[in-house]
């Protein structure tokens, strides 16, 4: 989230792609087991509703997320990626989320340099108690990605594939 304010690299992707009417975005959510995954479970137990576009992958810690995963997701089916971990200071593994944060900022800058819009990859802190916040985060990411349009059209236009 912090990355938005420090926007040094302007991405070339413009939200002008016209999506086919039956298009539904796919968001790949990679959540840490102890906070965000538990938080997303709480969203379920408290029956808070959110758009059904996110596909959730469980990892032990946000520091397990290799930039490769993000790139692979965008390369294949995902229109957007959400990484979520514990709040700073709350990491189950003491300091993992700090590594994740640093690694993610660099990855995001890299993706923007390639031309992706910054909203395609987002990072959030969701604790095990923040079920409602998880729903909000998913809504926001989904809305952002819907505005940007299908990633495969963008790839087709700009990379000819």
């Amino acid at each position: 989230m912090e990355a938005e304010s420090k926007d040094k690299i302007v991405s070339i992707e413009k939200p002008e792609l016209i999506a086919p009417p039956d298009w539904k975005p796919v968001i790949m959510g990679i959540l840490c087991n102890w906070c965000s995954y538990a938080g997303s479970d709480l969203t379920g137990t408290s029956r808070t509703q959110y758009p059904p576009n996110i596909r959730i992958i469980r990892v032990p810690c946000s520091s397990r997320v290799d930039p490769w995963f993000i790139i692979k997701a965008l390369q294949t089916t995902a229109d957007g990626v959400l990484i979520s971990g514990c709040h700073p200071g709350d990491c189950h593994y003491i300091s993992g989320n700090y590594y994740a944060r640093r690694r993610f900022l660099v990855t995001k800058e890299l993706l923007k340099m390639v031309g992706f819009h910054g909203h395609r990859v987002q990072f959030s802190w969701v604790s095990a108690a923040e079920g409602a916040k998880f729903a909000q985060v998913v809504k926001k990411v989904t809305d952002d990605v819907v505005k940007l349009g299908p990633l495969h059209l963008y790839k087709k236009e700009n990379f000819n594939r």
Binding site: P52, I56, R64, G96, Y99
Partner: protein, 657 residues
């Protein structure tokens, strides 16, 4: 060739009402490696598990996907079903179609069904890359470390020691006893706190299985569950405890006077002191910050009067090492400093005190001999105003939680005030009366009826001085009007906050804490005494505000957990740990730097087969590794993988849809 079995659960109506389960099964059957797919009403029930067991045998399945609730809920249940059927339990994958689909997309059945199908596809893809894993067993050192010698630490230590397990009890101050030793009488029965606590303190000191190390702090903890190594710094007491008889001559003659912590600074103690007469161990220590001899090299009176020659000014801090298997953290609480309440004039008016100060004054062994007095002029107060929720439940002051014990101890204070000063009257400003507990509600009623304490529901807006009185202006919410009470003394029930050292201690132990500094339990309901780090347990107010019965119950629960952990000679550990492929490791040692547990060390191996030259590679201690995966993501040679969450497994999931 993988043979995957998919089992989709209805979860009664929980899933079936919002996800079209038969469609999910049909979709699953279309996946290449799926050889068997079926649905059932309750997969976690015995017949459901039997279906899984039967299918494993009948269809020679190589991995299993259960599409049901969250893996955090029933992963263990289904793993057990797999091992009952003779299959490695880690060949199971859970697709979370309840918490992540049916419950959160209740208005979009198609969307929820599509998503459930995708989640199943992802789980199937991951399960194909699953490997057989085996639980790791590690040896246990059967000794417990208890940090903090308040009632929580005392109870935990005694219970563990009674099971004939050696305990090392570390206490920061010169005596055990903690906050409870400062209390006068305890609610709801008005037992004298000292009378019920001091026998336990003596038991600790004399117990053959308890090693009491007072005036010391834990400075380092290495290792992992069952195999911790603790370093304890024993502060120099400058008194040889072996020869000291505790006669007290030194304290009597010491000329230096220092505010007495035990009495909340109401009176003075000496620079060589025993915190209170019933202290355990009942031996004095020299406060190095205030002792004239230690500061300036002059005085030495205590050494002169000590007949046994026990004073040793040259004593230095000592570091003691202990090998232990489990830790109980019981560091207790503190009272919040109410200075931010400027409207009350906290800090400006001497006659505003906090409840622990009041507690010390009404205590029979307190600085005023059991009679409350006004700090300003020493007069006995006739009208005392008690204000509850000072800090607690006040978002504006940064504390949202309820401190839990204030309602009860304020009722107790009203009764004690009535006992000590018969013609006095207590006015109590409160927000709510929370008296849930055995005999608690009756106790609050007793305070109201027996002592005539006036309970005013409302907040205090201002306190100001008028002559030698304090005017307390507040509202009486029940009458709906402003009231003003002319008070001799104001007692604030300030918020209960954790010990200030908690964040530092948490970092040292490698456990987490919340924004207030309370140490976090592993699960708020089902694992309230464990921390997220195996083998470290929490007792008492270090986890959340608690009264004495709850603290004692939690301490005993910790003891039960420790005894359970030590029941066998080895303990089982999850096999989700990192492993290094030495052939790929380039020896950059980035993983060593990122590992939060110091689980990675380096080793030298021959450069090639039979070569004499050596090269350095990483080596992971699987006993220490907690399986976070930091090292996997940092490894540039892709030489490390985390069992259960390998790169192929996650990439399979990503590309599955």
């Amino acid at each position: 060739m993988a043979r995957v079995g998919v089992f989709v659960c209805f979860c009664g109506a929980n899933i079936a009402d919002f996800v079209d389960v038969p469609t999910v099964v049909e979709e699953a059957k279309k996946i290449r490696d799926v050889k068997f797919a079926i649905d059932y009403k309750y997969m976690c029930s015995d017949p459901g598990q039997q279906m899984i067991r039967d299918a494993i045998v009948q269809h020679r399945l190589t991995s299993i996907v259960v599409a049901a609730c969250s893996p955090r809920m029933h992963e263990k249940t289904f793993r057990k079903a797999l091992s009952d059927a003779g299959m490695n339990p880690y060949l199971l994958e859970c697709a979370n179609i309840r918490e992540h689909s049916s419950w959160v997309h209740q208005k979009d059945k198609k969307g929820a069904t599509d998503k459930a199908g995708d989640l199943v596809r992802m789980a199937v893809a991951k399960s194909i890359a699953n490997e057989q894993l085996h639980e790791i067993s590690v040896p246990v050192t059967k000794r417990a470390l208890v940090i903090g010698g308040g009632i929580a630490g005392i109870q935990a230590a005694l219970d563990i020691a009674d099971a004939r397990i050696p305990v090392t009890l570390v206490e920061r101050s010169p005596s055990i006893g903690g906050r409870m030793s400062q209390l006068d009488e305890t609610f709801p029965t008005l037992d004298c706190s000292q009378c019920i606590l001091t026998p336990k303190m003596v038991d600790v000191a004399s117990h053959p299985y308890i090693e009491l190390i007072p005036y010391s702090e834990v400075i380092e903890l290495d290792g992992y569950v069952g195999n911790y190594k603790a370093k304890i710094r024993k502060k120099a007491s400058y008194v040889n405890f072996k020869t000291c008889t505790g006669c007290g001559a030194c304290s009597q003659k010491c000329p230096v006077k220092v505010p007495n912590e035990y009495n909340m600074g109401i009176d003075k103690r000496k620079a060589i002191y025993t915190p209170f007469p019933q202290a355990v161990p009942n031996k004095p220590v020299i406060d190095a910050e205030h002792c004239t001899y230690l500061l300036k090299g002059k005085c030495g009176i205590c050494a002169k009067v000590c007949e046994k020659g026990s004073i040793d000014y040259k004593m230095v801090d000592e570091v003691i090492e202990r090998e232990i298997g489990a830790v109980v953290v019981a560091t207790g609480y503190d009272l919040w400093d109410a200075t931010p309440y400027e409207e009350y004039g906290v800090g400006r008016y001497k006659d505003i005190i906090n409840s622990l100060e009041f507690e010390r004054m009404v205590s029979a062994n307190g600085p005023t001999g059991g009679v409350p007095v006004r700090p300003s002029d020493g007069k006995v107060p006739k009208t005392v105003v008690f204000i509850k929720c000072v800090g607690s439940r006040d978002k504006a002051k940064g504390i949202e939680f309820c401190s839990k014990i204030c309602c009860m101890y304020t009722a107790k204070h009203a009764i004690l005030l009535h006992h000590k000063v018969h013609d006095s009257r207590a006015y109590i400003f409160y927000m709510d009366i929370r008296a849930a507990g055995k005999g608690y509600e009756e106790f609050v009623n007793r305070a109201q009826v027996e002592t005539g304490a006036v309970y005013l529901r409302g907040r205090v807006s201002k306190i100001y001085q008028k002559g030698d009185k304090l005017m307390v202006r507040g509202e009486d919410g029940q009458l709906g009007q402003e009231v003003e009470v002319e008070a001799d003394l104001v007692v604030l029930a300030t918020a209960v906050i954790p010990d200030k050292g908690n964040p530092a201690l948490a970092r040292l132990l490698g456990i987490s804490y919340d924004k207030y500094g309370y140490l976090s339990e592993a699960h708020p309901k089902l694992r309230p005494v464990e921390t997220a780090k195996a083998g470290i347990f929490l007792a008492g107010c270090t986890q959340a505000p608690k009264d004495i019965p709850e603290t004692v119950a939690q301490a005993s629960a910790c003891a039960a957990k420790v005894c359970g952990l030590f029941a066998g000679d080895t303990i089982k550990k999850d096999p989700m740990v990192s492993t290094v492929s030495k052939e790929f490791c380039s020896g950059c040692q980035n993983c060593v730097k990122v590992c939060p547990y110091q689980a990675i060390v380096t080793e030298d191996i021959p450069l090639g087969h039979g070569a004499k030259e050596m090269r350095t590679v990483a080596k992971i201690n699987e006993g220490v590794c907690q399986g976070c995966g930091s090292c996997v993501a940092i490894c540039r040679s892709m030489a490390i993988n985390l069992a259960g969450f390998t790169d192929p497994q996650i990439i399979n999931e990503i590309v599955a849809i």
